[in-house]
Protein backbone atom coordinates (compact mmCIF):
# COMPACT_ATOMS: atom_id res chain seq x y z
CA UNK A 1 0.00 0.00 0.00
CA UNK A 2 2.71 2.44 1.02
CA UNK A 3 4.76 1.58 -2.05
CA UNK A 4 2.04 2.86 -4.39
CA UNK A 5 2.06 6.38 -2.89
CA UNK A 6 4.07 9.05 -4.67
CA UNK A 7 5.61 12.16 -3.12
CA UNK A 8 3.37 15.22 -3.14
CA UNK A 9 4.05 18.03 -5.62
CA UNK A 10 5.46 15.78 -8.31
CA UNK A 11 2.07 14.84 -9.66
CA UNK A 12 -0.17 17.32 -7.84
CA UNK A 13 -0.61 21.09 -8.01
CA UNK A 14 2.00 23.06 -6.13
CA UNK A 15 0.83 24.72 -2.98
CA UNK A 16 0.72 28.50 -3.10
CA UNK A 17 1.99 30.61 -0.27
CA UNK A 18 -0.17 33.56 0.84
CA UNK A 19 2.06 36.19 -0.74
CA UNK A 20 1.75 34.49 -4.13
CA UNK A 21 -2.03 34.95 -4.25
CA UNK A 22 -2.86 37.98 -6.37
CA UNK A 23 -5.46 40.15 -4.66
CA UNK A 24 -4.54 43.61 -5.94
CA UNK A 25 -7.78 44.23 -7.81
CA UNK A 26 -10.01 42.31 -5.47
CA UNK A 27 -11.93 43.78 -2.60
CA UNK A 28 -11.68 40.97 -0.10
CA UNK A 29 -14.73 42.12 1.84
CA UNK A 30 -16.85 42.13 -1.28
CA UNK A 31 -15.40 38.81 -2.34
CA UNK A 32 -16.24 37.31 1.04
CA UNK A 33 -19.83 38.53 0.76
CA UNK A 34 -20.18 37.02 -2.71
CA UNK A 35 -22.07 39.98 -4.17
CA UNK A 36 -20.98 39.26 -7.72
CA UNK A 37 -22.13 35.68 -7.61
CA UNK A 38 -25.46 36.53 -6.04
CA UNK A 39 -26.30 39.75 -7.89
CA UNK A 40 -24.63 39.24 -11.26
CA UNK A 41 -27.78 40.35 -13.10
CA UNK A 42 -27.92 43.67 -11.23
CA UNK A 43 -24.23 44.39 -11.80
CA UNK A 44 -24.61 43.56 -15.47
CA UNK A 45 -27.33 46.15 -15.73
CA UNK A 46 -25.34 48.75 -13.79
CA UNK A 47 -22.41 48.17 -16.15
CA UNK A 48 -24.53 49.56 -18.99
CA UNK A 49 -24.15 53.02 -17.50
CA UNK A 50 -20.69 54.53 -17.77
CA UNK A 51 -20.68 58.20 -16.77
CA UNK A 52 -17.45 59.75 -18.02
CA UNK A 53 -16.50 63.41 -18.26
CA UNK A 54 -16.48 64.85 -21.76
CA UNK A 55 -13.06 65.48 -23.26
CA UNK A 56 -13.81 69.21 -23.41
CA UNK A 57 -14.64 69.29 -19.71
CA UNK A 58 -11.30 67.70 -18.81
CA UNK A 59 -9.47 70.11 -21.10
CA UNK A 60 -11.28 73.06 -19.52
CA UNK A 61 -10.31 71.84 -16.06
CA UNK A 62 -6.66 71.39 -17.00
CA UNK A 63 -6.68 74.89 -18.47
CA UNK A 64 -8.05 76.32 -15.22
CA UNK A 65 -5.41 74.43 -13.24
CA UNK A 66 -2.70 75.92 -15.45
CA UNK A 67 -4.10 79.41 -14.89
CA UNK A 68 -4.02 78.88 -11.13
CA UNK A 69 -0.27 78.31 -11.15
Amino acid sequence: MIKTLRPMAKISTQFLSYHEIQVDDIDLYEDAFGFYQEFGDVFKLLDRLKPVPKKKLTERLIERVRQMN
Binding site: E30, F43, L45, P51, L57, L61
Partner: protein
Protein backbone atom coordinates in the same frame (compact mmCIF):
# COMPACT_ATOMS: atom_id res chain seq x y z
CA UNK B 1 7.24 57.83 -16.55
CA UNK B 2 4.46 59.77 -14.78
CA UNK B 3 2.00 56.97 -15.35
CA UNK B 4 4.11 54.67 -13.17
CA UNK B 5 4.34 57.19 -10.31
CA UNK B 6 2.12 56.81 -7.24
CA UNK B 7 -0.44 59.49 -6.39
CA UNK B 8 1.74 60.76 -3.60
CA UNK B 9 4.82 60.99 -5.78
CA UNK B 10 2.80 63.03 -8.26
CA UNK B 11 1.59 65.35 -5.50
CA UNK B 12 5.13 65.83 -4.22
CA UNK B 13 6.35 66.74 -7.69
CA UNK B 14 3.37 69.05 -8.23
CA UNK B 15 4.10 70.92 -5.00
CA UNK B 16 7.69 71.35 -6.21
CA UNK B 17 6.29 73.04 -9.31
CA UNK B 18 5.83 70.22 -11.76
CA UNK B 19 2.47 71.28 -13.21
CA UNK B 20 1.98 68.26 -15.44
CA UNK B 21 1.94 65.93 -12.42
CA UNK B 22 -1.42 67.27 -11.32
CA UNK B 23 -2.72 66.83 -14.85
CA UNK B 24 -1.78 63.16 -14.58
CA UNK B 25 -3.74 62.94 -11.32
CA UNK B 26 -6.76 64.45 -13.06
CA UNK B 27 -6.52 61.97 -15.93
CA UNK B 28 -6.09 59.10 -13.49
CA UNK B 29 -9.08 59.87 -11.28
CA UNK B 30 -11.46 62.01 -13.36
CA UNK B 31 -13.91 59.21 -14.18
CA UNK B 32 -14.29 58.12 -10.55
CA UNK B 33 -14.96 61.67 -9.40
CA UNK B 34 -17.24 62.52 -12.30
CA UNK B 35 -19.29 59.33 -11.91
CA UNK B 36 -19.86 60.09 -8.25
CA UNK B 37 -20.94 63.68 -8.82
CA UNK B 38 -22.99 63.14 -11.97
CA UNK B 39 -25.01 60.34 -10.40
CA UNK B 40 -25.95 62.65 -7.56
CA UNK B 41 -26.55 65.89 -9.40
CA UNK B 42 -29.20 65.90 -12.07
CA UNK B 43 -28.24 69.18 -13.63
CA UNK B 44 -25.38 68.43 -16.01
CA UNK B 45 -23.92 71.94 -15.98
CA UNK B 46 -23.91 71.95 -12.20
CA UNK B 47 -22.31 68.48 -12.07
CA UNK B 48 -19.56 69.74 -14.37
CA UNK B 49 -19.00 72.79 -12.15
CA UNK B 50 -18.74 70.64 -9.03
CA UNK B 51 -16.38 68.27 -10.85
CA UNK B 52 -14.04 71.17 -11.60
CA UNK B 53 -14.47 72.70 -8.15
CA UNK B 54 -13.44 69.40 -6.56
CA UNK B 55 -10.07 69.35 -8.30
CA UNK B 56 -9.51 73.07 -7.73
CA UNK B 57 -10.20 72.57 -4.03
CA UNK B 58 -7.77 69.65 -4.02
CA UNK B 59 -5.08 71.96 -5.38
CA UNK B 60 -5.78 74.61 -2.75
CA UNK B 61 -5.63 72.03 0.02
CA UNK B 62 -2.47 70.38 -1.30
CA UNK B 63 -0.74 73.74 -1.65
CA UNK B 64 -1.71 74.80 1.85
CA UNK B 65 -0.27 71.55 3.20
CA UNK B 66 -3.58 70.02 4.22
CA UNK B 67 -2.94 66.69 2.53
CA UNK B 68 -0.99 64.06 4.41
CA UNK B 69 -0.36 60.87 2.56
CA UNK B 70 -1.79 57.70 3.99
CA UNK B 71 -2.10 55.98 0.64
CA UNK B 72 -5.69 57.13 0.22
CA UNK B 73 -5.50 60.08 -2.12
CA UNK B 74 -8.64 59.14 -4.05
CA UNK B 75 -10.62 58.63 -0.82
CA UNK B 76 -9.60 62.12 0.22
CA UNK B 77 -10.62 63.58 -3.16
CA UNK B 78 -13.97 61.79 -2.96
CA UNK B 79 -14.54 63.22 0.49
CA UNK B 80 -13.99 66.71 -0.94
CA UNK B 81 -16.49 65.94 -3.72
CA UNK B 82 -18.89 64.55 -1.13
CA UNK B 83 -18.64 67.76 0.95
CA UNK B 84 -19.18 69.96 -2.09
CA UNK B 85 -22.32 67.98 -2.97
CA UNK B 86 -23.60 68.33 0.58
CA UNK B 87 -22.87 72.08 0.52
CA UNK B 88 -24.81 72.34 -2.73
CA UNK B 89 -27.86 70.57 -1.31
CA UNK B 90 -27.72 72.76 1.80
CA UNK B 91 -27.75 75.88 -0.37
CA UNK B 92 -30.65 74.52 -2.42
CA UNK B 93 -32.55 73.73 0.75
CA UNK B 94 -31.96 77.25 2.07
CA UNK B 95 -33.16 78.76 -1.19
CA UNK B 96 -35.99 76.25 -1.27
CA UNK B 97 -35.51 75.60 -4.97
CA UNK B 98 -35.32 72.20 -6.55
CA UNK B 99 -34.16 71.59 -10.07
CA UNK B 100 -36.58 69.63 -12.16
CA UNK B 101 -34.15 69.11 -14.97
CA UNK B 102 -34.28 65.61 -16.23
CA UNK B 103 -31.14 63.58 -16.60
CA UNK B 104 -29.18 64.61 -19.60
CA UNK B 105 -28.67 61.76 -21.96
CA UNK B 106 -25.52 63.21 -23.50
CA UNK B 107 -23.61 62.53 -20.29
CA UNK B 108 -22.71 59.16 -21.63
CA UNK B 109 -19.99 58.73 -24.14
CA UNK B 110 -20.30 55.62 -26.20
CA UNK B 111 -17.37 54.61 -28.36
CA UNK B 112 -19.52 52.50 -30.60
CA UNK B 113 -22.20 55.08 -31.04
CA UNK B 114 -21.43 55.64 -34.70
CA UNK B 115 -21.82 51.97 -35.46
CA UNK B 116 -25.10 51.54 -33.66
CA UNK B 117 -28.40 51.92 -35.40
CA UNK B 118 -30.74 54.70 -34.35
CA UNK B 119 -33.07 52.20 -32.74
CA UNK B 120 -30.28 50.52 -30.79
CA UNK B 121 -29.09 53.93 -29.71
CA UNK B 122 -32.53 54.87 -28.44
CA UNK B 123 -32.88 51.61 -26.54
CA UNK B 124 -29.45 52.11 -25.06
CA UNK B 125 -30.34 55.61 -23.92
CA UNK B 126 -33.57 54.35 -22.40
CA UNK B 127 -31.72 51.65 -20.46
CA UNK B 128 -29.23 54.22 -19.17
CA UNK B 129 -32.08 56.49 -18.15
CA UNK B 130 -33.76 53.57 -16.36
CA UNK B 131 -30.56 52.74 -14.51
CA UNK B 132 -30.19 56.33 -13.35
CA UNK B 133 -33.77 56.29 -12.16
CA UNK B 134 -33.19 52.99 -10.40
CA UNK B 135 -30.19 54.39 -8.54
CA UNK B 136 -31.93 57.66 -7.72
CA UNK B 137 -34.85 55.80 -6.13
CA UNK B 138 -32.62 54.03 -3.62
CA UNK B 139 -32.47 55.40 -0.07
CA UNK B 140 -29.66 57.94 0.27
CA UNK B 141 -27.26 55.75 2.26
CA UNK B 142 -27.65 52.79 -0.11
CA UNK B 143 -27.31 54.94 -3.20
CA UNK B 144 -24.05 56.39 -1.95
CA UNK B 145 -22.47 52.96 -1.41
CA UNK B 146 -23.52 51.72 -4.86
CA UNK B 147 -22.09 54.79 -6.58
CA UNK B 148 -18.85 54.80 -4.61
CA UNK B 149 -18.30 51.06 -5.05
CA UNK B 150 -19.56 50.36 -8.53
CA UNK B 151 -18.96 53.62 -10.37
CA UNK B 152 -16.07 55.15 -8.45
CA UNK B 153 -14.35 51.84 -7.75
CA UNK B 154 -13.60 52.48 -4.08
CA UNK B 155 -13.04 49.58 -1.71
CA UNK B 156 -15.47 48.97 1.14
CA UNK B 157 -12.76 50.08 3.54
CA UNK B 158 -12.51 53.42 1.71
CA UNK B 159 -16.30 53.76 1.52
CA UNK B 160 -16.54 53.10 5.25
CA UNK B 161 -13.97 55.87 5.85
CA UNK B 162 -15.75 58.41 3.64
CA UNK B 163 -19.23 57.74 4.95
CA UNK B 164 -18.15 57.39 8.59
CA UNK B 165 -19.63 53.95 9.10
CA UNK B 166 -18.16 50.51 9.79
CA UNK B 167 -17.22 48.20 6.94
CA UNK B 168 -20.03 45.87 7.95
CA UNK B 169 -22.55 48.69 7.71
CA UNK B 170 -21.26 49.64 4.24
CA UNK B 171 -21.49 46.00 3.14
CA UNK B 172 -24.98 45.72 4.59
CA UNK B 173 -26.10 48.84 2.74
CA UNK B 174 -24.70 47.44 -0.49
CA UNK B 175 -26.63 44.21 -0.01
CA UNK B 176 -29.89 46.07 0.65
CA UNK B 177 -29.26 48.30 -2.36
CA UNK B 178 -28.73 45.28 -4.62
CA UNK B 179 -31.84 43.56 -3.29
CA UNK B 180 -33.87 46.74 -3.79
CA UNK B 181 -32.54 47.30 -7.29
CA UNK B 182 -33.35 43.74 -8.30
CA UNK B 183 -36.85 44.19 -6.94
CA UNK B 184 -37.31 47.41 -8.90
CA UNK B 185 -35.88 45.76 -12.03
CA UNK B 186 -38.50 43.05 -11.75
CA UNK B 187 -41.33 45.43 -10.98
CA UNK B 188 -40.46 47.76 -13.83
CA UNK B 189 -39.38 44.95 -16.13
CA UNK B 190 -36.01 46.54 -16.77
CA UNK B 191 -33.59 44.20 -18.43
CA UNK B 192 -30.69 44.17 -20.84
CA UNK B 193 -32.70 44.56 -24.00
CA UNK B 194 -29.69 44.81 -26.27
CA UNK B 195 -26.14 43.60 -25.81
Amino acid sequence: MRKSMTDYELIEEFVKGEQSCFEELIRRHKSKVFAYISLYIRDQALAEDLFQDTFLKVIQSVKSGKYYDNGKFISWVMRIAHNLIIDHFRRVKQLNTVSNDDYESDLFNSKKLAEATVEDHMIKKQIQKDIRKLISQLPEDQREVVILRHYSGLSFKEIADITDVSINTALGRMRYALINMRKMMEEKKISLTIN
